[in-house]
Amino acid sequence: MKRVAAAVLLITFLLLLLAASSLAVERLFVGGIEVELEEPLEIVSGVILVPTWLLEKHFGGTVQISDSRITAAFADQTILMRLGEKSALVDGESHKLDVAPQRRGNEVLLPLRFFADRLGFQLVLEEDGKVLRLQKPSQVRERASLFERLRQETSWAEEPEPVEPVEETAQGLSDIVYMGGARSRVFIDLQSYTGYQTNLLTDPPRLILDLYGVEGGPLPVVEVDDSLLIRIRSSRFDEETIRLVFDLNAASGYKVTPWADRGLEVEFNHMLYAAGLRERDGFIELWLEASHPPSIEAIYLEDPQRLVLDLQDTTLLASVRELPAGYERISRLRMQQHSPEVTRLVLELAGPVTMLPLQEAGPGRYVIPLFQGTAQEAQRMFDLDDFEPVISPDFSDDTKPVFGPQRGEDGEGILRGVIVAIDPGHGGSDPGTIGYHGSFEKDINLAISFFLGKLLKEAGAEVVYTRDTDVYVSIFERPEIAVRAGADLFISIHANSHIKRGTARGTETLYRANDLVSQRLAQLVQAELVQAITLVDRRIWGRDDLAIFNGSTIPAVLVEVGFLDHPDEEVLLRAEGFQQIAAEGIYNGIERFILEYFGKGEGQ
C-alpha cells in the first residue's frame, strides 16, 4: 500500500512539474504592444496568473494588498479578492474564481482572465500557449484587429520577430518624437483627440499627460536620458484615455502646445539651480547657475522699493530661497516660483540700482552686473558711448516708477483711473471647450482678451490680466488676482458649448446674482456685444455658483461670446477680425457702464 501511495505521489509530482514547466506564457501583448516579462506567466489549472504590477502598469489600476485582502481599483470598478479564496467581490456582487489569488515569493499572483473579462479584454493564446494576446473587441477597433490578424498571417510566416507596432496604432497615438533642444521638446503625434490633462508629480518627479479620445494602443518606451528627461512611457489608461508618463530628473515646469492640425508639443522649462550676489570691480553681480541663458523681464516696484526679475520658462531648483545682502543699496535677494513658467527673483533695494546686460561667465554660469546708482550716473562713471542699461529707475523728475504697470499716463483717456481685470477663461492644462473643428476655447479667450485689453489701455484704463499666457490658473485664484490689483471691474471672457454639441448658437453674459451693479454691467456688455457681432441674443443670466464671482465683490461678468461647438460660430470665433469686433463690443459696454456708474473716468 505504501509503495502504491508513493508511486501515485511521485507520478502526481512529475505531472505537476511537467505542467509547470510546459504551461507558461512567454510573451504577452496588450493591445498589440509587447509587455516585457521578467518571468513567464504561470498557468495553474488552465488559468493564467499575473503579478499585480502588470495590472497596475498595463490596465491602469491600482492594487493594494493588506493581510490577505486584495483591493484592485480601476477607473470604473473596484474588485476585492482574498489570498487563497476562490471568490471575488465586484461592486458588491460576488463572483466565482477558477483559481484563487496566491503568493509567489514577494509577488501576489492574480487570475488574469477574471480581470480581462471585467475590463473588456479578449484573451487569445497562440503558439501552444506560449504567446498571449489581450485585445479589446470594441467596434472602433474592429478594423485594427482585422489589420492585426492580417499582419500576423503575413509577417509571422516570414519573420518571427514582432513587427513594429507603429502602423497598427495609426488611428490614435502614432508617434512620440523626442526633438531635444534646451527645453527637451517632445512632439506627440496624434491622429485625433478630444482633450488632455496634465499633472506634475514630485516623488519620483514625473509629468503625467492624459490624452482623451485616443484610440489604439500605446507605444514602446522612448528612452531619452538628457539633462532633464529620462524616458517617456505610454499606456492605455481606460477605453478613451492614453496616459503618457515623462520620467524626469526634476519636477520641472512645462508647457503643452496643441498643434493646429494634429498632435501636441511638450516643452519643459529651463532650470535655475542657484543664484546669489557678489561684489566685483565696483559692481554688485547677481550670479545665476542655470541650464540655459535665462530670458528676463525686469520691473521696478515701489513701497518697498524693489527690482523684480522674472526668468521666463524657468523652474526654480535652488534650495536656498532667501539671501540677506549687506550692500549699500541691496539688502536682500529672494527667489520664488512665481507661476509654473516664471521664476521670480526680487532684489530689495535701499536706493536706485541700474541693471546691466546679462553676461555669460562660463558654462551654465551667468552674471548680471548691478550698478548702485542711476543709469545717468553709471554712464558718467564709466564714460560709455553705447552704454545701454537693461533697466534703471528714472529718479530724475519724480519718484514714480517708470517700469511699473501702465497707468494711462497720456492723461487723455476717457477711462483714466479705472482698473479693469480681464480674465481669459481656462488655459494651460485646461483647454476649455473644444471647437467643432478642434480649436481650443482657451486660445480664443486669450486672443479676445488681448484685443479688449488694448482698447481699454488706449482709453487710459489700467488692465490686469489673470493670465496673459497659456497657463493654468485656478478659478479661485482669478478673483484674488483682481482684488490684489485693486480692480474696479472683473470681465471674464469665454466661449460656450452645449451638452448636445453643435446645437446651440449665440451670445450670453453671466453676472453675479443678486448684485444690481454686476447686472447692469452685464446688460450693457451684452447689448453692445450683440450689436457688434450680431449673433443670437441669449440674454443675461444671474449666477450664484461661479467661483470667479464668489471670490470677490468686484462687479463681475462672464461673457460667453459664442458657441465654439457650433461649426459656423467656431469659424467666426477663430477669425481675428471677429475677435477684434467682439472686443470692441465688450469695450463699448464697459465704457457705457463706467460713464453711467462712476459718472466718468478720473481722466475727465
Partner: protein, 176 residues
C-alpha cells in the same frame, strides 16, 4: 405581417399625434406634457436639456422618485423627442450616500473626460443632476463627486466644492 406592421405604424403615429397635441399637466405653474403617465397615478420629473438649448425641461416618469431610479433615468436619457441627455456618454454612477438632507453622488471620471465643456453645458449637466435629485423627498442639496473625490469644478465654471441647491432659473421654459 406587413399589414400588422402597417397597423402598428399607424397606431404609433396616432399616439405621437396625441402626444404632440398635448396631454398636458400643470407642474410648478407651467403646462408640461405627461404623455407617459396614467391619469391619477404617481409620477416624478427628471430634468433633461430642453430643445431651446438654454433650459432644463422635466420629463415625467411613472412611480415614486428614489435616488436609484432617478440616477438610472438620468443615465438612460430622455424618451421624449426634442430633449437631450444631461450626462455625457459612458458615465456611470459609482455610488451615493445621504447625510441629512445632502446627497453625495460619485460619478465615473467620464463625467469630466467626456464632457464637452462650456458654461452652458456645465450648467445643464450639474443642474440636470441636482434638480432631478432634489425632487426626492428629504433631499435638499446635492454634491457631485468624481471617482469618490470632491472636485473644484467640472469644466471650469461652477464651484462644485460644496453641495448645490436646486436652480430655478434654469427651469424657465419655452413650452408655455
Amino acid at each position: 405581417m406587413k399589414w400588422e406592421r402597417r397597423i402598428a405604424g399607424l397606431l404609433l403615429i396616432l399616439i405621437l399625434l396625441l402626444v404632440g397635441r398635448g396631454v398636458w399637466k400643470v407642474y410648478q405653474g407651467r403646462m408640461v406634457p405627461v404623455s407617459l403617465i396614467e391619469e391619477g397615478a404617481p409620477y416624478y420629473p427628471v430634468y433633461f436639456a430642453a430643445a431651446d438649448s438654454a433650459h432644463l425641461e422635466p420629463e415625467f416618469r411613472p412611480g415614486t422618485a428614489d435616488v436609484a431610479a432617478v440616477l438610472k433615468d438620468l443615465l438612460e436619457g430622455p424618451r421624449l423627442p426634442g430633449l437631450a441627455p444631461v450626462l455625457p456618454p459612458d458615465v456611470s454612477v459609482l455610488g451615493y450616500t445621504q447625510r441629512g438632507s445632502v446627497l453625495y453622488v460619485s460619478f465615473s471620471h467620464h463625467l469630466r473626460s467626456n464632457h464637452p465643456g462650456g458654461s452652458r453645458a456645465e450648467m445643464l449637466t450639474v443642474y440636470g443632476i441636482v434638480n432631478s435629485l432634489t425632487e426626492i423627498a428629504g433631499i435638499e442639496r446635492v454634491q457631485i463627486l468624481i471617482e469618490y473625490e470632491q472636485i473644484d469644478t467640472l469644466t471650469g465654471h461652477i464651484d462644485l466644492g460644496k453641495p448645490l441647491e436646486r436652480d430655478y432659473s434654469l427651469l424657465g421654459s419655452t413650452m408655455i
